[in-house]
């Protein structure tokens, strides 16, 4: 079915690397996701081999790279995550949305206009608060597997207030809470709340316009989804593949450029 591939998108993020292939109708026909490796070039080469094995030869297929590692990807073009996410989410929802993407080491909020254009955006500043890294650090400290964080937080109605959004300070705050015998569930719920509040502050800078869509690794965490809905008072919609929105958008841009 190699004839069907018309565009490739590669999103090399700080935590995961993803690749999406689209067909001539912009539909996603293949995708791949792995934890990001330090040797970006090698990982991408392997991705391309995998894609070629599944889809047939890829030479001549237009490609677009995005994400922090995009400079190291041998693609036809490089486009920022902002533009790619806007394109990806618009393809799926076909209306203007406010997209919140919570990634491993950065979070962003994009207001996508009714024609799919980026109307405004905001990214987290130079710290890990409001990103997946915030939870990852604490998960390690509490020896809880990452995927269990959300369910444990939602499994209780108790919640302690975590005052620090700084990852380092929050970590020491957690240590002292544990020392005081506070239940892990209540701590985790409080941590998710702190993260979501930080994200909501970012949403405010671009203005919240419904519908609200959540993507990135953060979307795989049910506590983030629920608390985000609570804090914004709005329903949170998830894309079919929350972690592939950027790569999909990149593939769509590759396809469009090909059509140009």
């Amino acid at each position: 079915m190699s004839h069907a591939v018309r565009g490739l998108g590669i999103d090399v993020g700080s935590t995961t690397a993803k690749m999406v292939a689209v067909g001539s109708n912009a539909e996603m026909i293949w995708h791949w996701l792995e934890p990001a490796e330090p040797r970006v070039e090698e990982q991408v080469a392997r991705f391309l081999d995998k894609a070629a094995a599944a889809l047939g030869p890829l030479s001549g297929i237009p490609s677009v790279a995005t994400g922090y590692g995009r400079g190291l990807v041998p693609a036809m073009r490089r486009v920022t995550e902002i533009t790619c996410h806007a394109r990806g989410v618009y393809r799926e929802f076909a209306v203007g949305v406010t997209l919140v993407d919570i990634g491993g080491q950065d979070s962003k909020v994009i207001r996508v206009g009714s024609r799919g254009e980026t109307a405004d955006f905001s990214m987290n500043d130079k710290c890990a608060a409001g990103t997946g890294r915030f939870l990852e650090v604490i998960a390690q400290r509490l020896a809880v597997p990452l995927e269990r964080l959300g369910p444990i937080a939602l499994g209780t109605s108790e919640e302690v207030a975590i005052s620090s959004t700084c990852t380092v300070f929050a970590e020491s705050e957690v240590i002292s809470l544990i020392a005081r015998g506070v239940a892990v569930g209540a701590i985790l719920r409080g941590l998710h709340r702190a993260l979501v509040k930080r994200v909501v502050a970012m949403i405010r800078t671009v203005g919240l316009v419904a519908p609200l869509v959540l993507s990135g690794g953060g979307a795989c965490n049910p506590a983030i989804c629920q608390l985000l809905a609570e804090e914004t008072g709005m329903a949170v919609h998830l894309p079919r593949h929350p972690q592939l929105v950027g790569a999909h958008g990149a593939a769509l841009i590759a396809l469009e450029k090909d059509a140009d």
Binding site: T80, E81, T83, D120, T205, G207
Partner: protein
């Protein structure tokens, strides 16, 4: 001051020093052309006035080096009523400008480290840290700074200067004149005007005593006249950017503004800006834009990022983006109409009460909106400067307003004007790229 010392000063500064610097300038002018690595594809050739700018700045620091042989030295804040001191023939040093030089040559971390080691917090403005670090250690990229005989601080830019200059006064054990300019939320009231005027009048005898000279009103008027002329020329130069393509990018302005800040009131500064205006007009006549393929025009808010000036200029120019107006460079021109030689005291009070940083966030927003309209700008970059709180406060709301009410995309870019430890190039580049994609370039 003995005749002998004056002679040595004259020979070193006015004869030998000037001759050497002039020779350097002439050599650079003869050589002409662009320096190595100049991105000719997207940047206009360097301004031919550049060697002269360099000469002026070098001459200024050279005069400083020997100042004590012939003159009294005052250190002043960038918004200080310097005309008073120039009328008394002080050599005037601007620690903020000196700190910017340190920033440009990337010496800020080392020099401000001296202040940090002495216990000054990293939350303090990086200009203050650089200056205090330099005062404590003697480190400077300009050879040697003259010690002050007098300090003059004016609070019309921030309250940091208040504490900073007290530290300097203690360190150097010299008198400090402090001019307190109440923050203006609207029009300056009569009471405020009288209050500032009295402080200025009271400053004169102090400055006279230190200078050992009498204040002559006529001299003061002459200096004020020259300040006004230079500021007026600077404003005209900036306004030439109404033309498309803009002849002078904001990054050029950041360099070319040095004389209007630190040599305001001198005759050669007027000549310098007259020459720059001629060159800018020449560019317009020849259709030369600072950015060769100007596709979008932007506003810059706040101080520059001194240590990455060229990088940012090239990054944007390469993508066809010209930054053509800035609230910062405008600050040294916009007050020109307030300077009035016929009423030098009144006009001085008004001028030094009205800098942009003394007028609140609403005024700055109004300035930005006016610039966006007048310069036909497509968007704005708001440098959120870790150091300069008074300039950065309110930027979130200002950005919101520009986006929502004016329909202009605006980007908040986090950095620090002098301290590269508060700057992350990857993130800056990523945000700029995303912003430019949004602008369709």
């Amino acid at each position: 001051m003995s005749v002998g010392r004056k002679m040595v000063y004259h020979v070193n500064v006015n004869l030998l020093g000037r001759a050497v610097l002039r020779w350097h300038r002439l050599k650079a002018e003869r050589r002409g052309g662009a320096p190595r690595g100049w991105k000719q594809e997207y940047l206009a050739p360097p301004l031919s006035i550049s060697p002269r700018t360099k000469e002026l700045i070098s001459r200024h620091y050279l005069a400083g080096r020997y100042a004590h042989l012939g003159r009294k030295v005052a250190w002043v804040t960038s918004g200080a009523p310097v005309e008073l001191l120039k009328a008394l023939d002080y050599y005037v040093l601007y620690p903020e400008n000196h700190a910017a030089v340190c920033g440009t040559v990337r010496a800020c971390v080392e020099i401000s480290g001296e202040a940090e080691n002495a216990g000054y917090s990293r939350d303090l403005c990086s200009y203050a840290r650089t200056d205090i670090g330099s005062a404590l250690s003697g480190k400077t990229p300009v050879g040697k700074l003259p010690k002050p005989d007098l300090l003059l601080a004016c609070t019309n830019i921030c309250q940091t200067v208040l504490a900073w200059y007290r530290v300097l006064a203690q360190h150097f054990r010299v008198p400090l004149i402090l001019i307190d300019t109440p923050f203006l939320f609207g029009e300056a009231s009569e009471h405020v005007i009288t209050y500032v005027r009295r402080q200025l009048e009271e400053a004169v005898p102090v400055a006279e005593t230190v200078a050992g000279k009498r204040f002559v009103e006529r001299r003061f008027e002459e200096v004020t006249q020259r300040s006004r002329m230079a500021s007026q020329l600077w404003l005209e130069i900036l306004e030439r950017n109404h033309h498309q393509p803009a002849p002078l990018s904001v990054f050029d302005q950041f360099i070319q503004m040095a004389p209007i800040v630190e040599m305001r009131g001198d005759g050669f500064t007027v000549d310098f800006y007259a020459a720059l205006l001629r060159e800018v007009d020449q560019r317009i006549a020849q259709g030369v834009g600072a950015v060769t393929k100007e596709k979008r025009r932007l506003l810059w808010d706040n101080l520059p990022v001194w240590y990455r000036l060229r990088y940012l200029a090239e990054f944007l120019a390469e993508r066809g983006v010209a930054v053509v107006a800035s609230t910062y460079t405008n600050a040294w021109g916009e007050l020109a109409p307030m300077m009035d030689v016929n009423r030098p005291w009144d006009s001085m009070v008004r001028t030094y009460l009205h800098p942009i940083l003394n007028r609140g966030t609403g005024h700055k927003l109004a300035t930005m909106i006016r610039m966006i309209e007048q310069y036909e700008l497509d968007g704005a970059i708001l440098h959120s400067d870790r150091s300069c709180k008074p300039y950065s406060i309110g930027q979130m709301d200002q950005r919101d307003h520009l986006v929502r009410e004016c329909g202009r995309p605006a980007l908040l870019l986090e950095a620090d004007h002098n301290d590269p430890r508060s700057y992350a190039e990857e993130q800056v580049a990523n945000r700029l790229d995303a912003f430019l994609e949004m602008l369709g370039v």
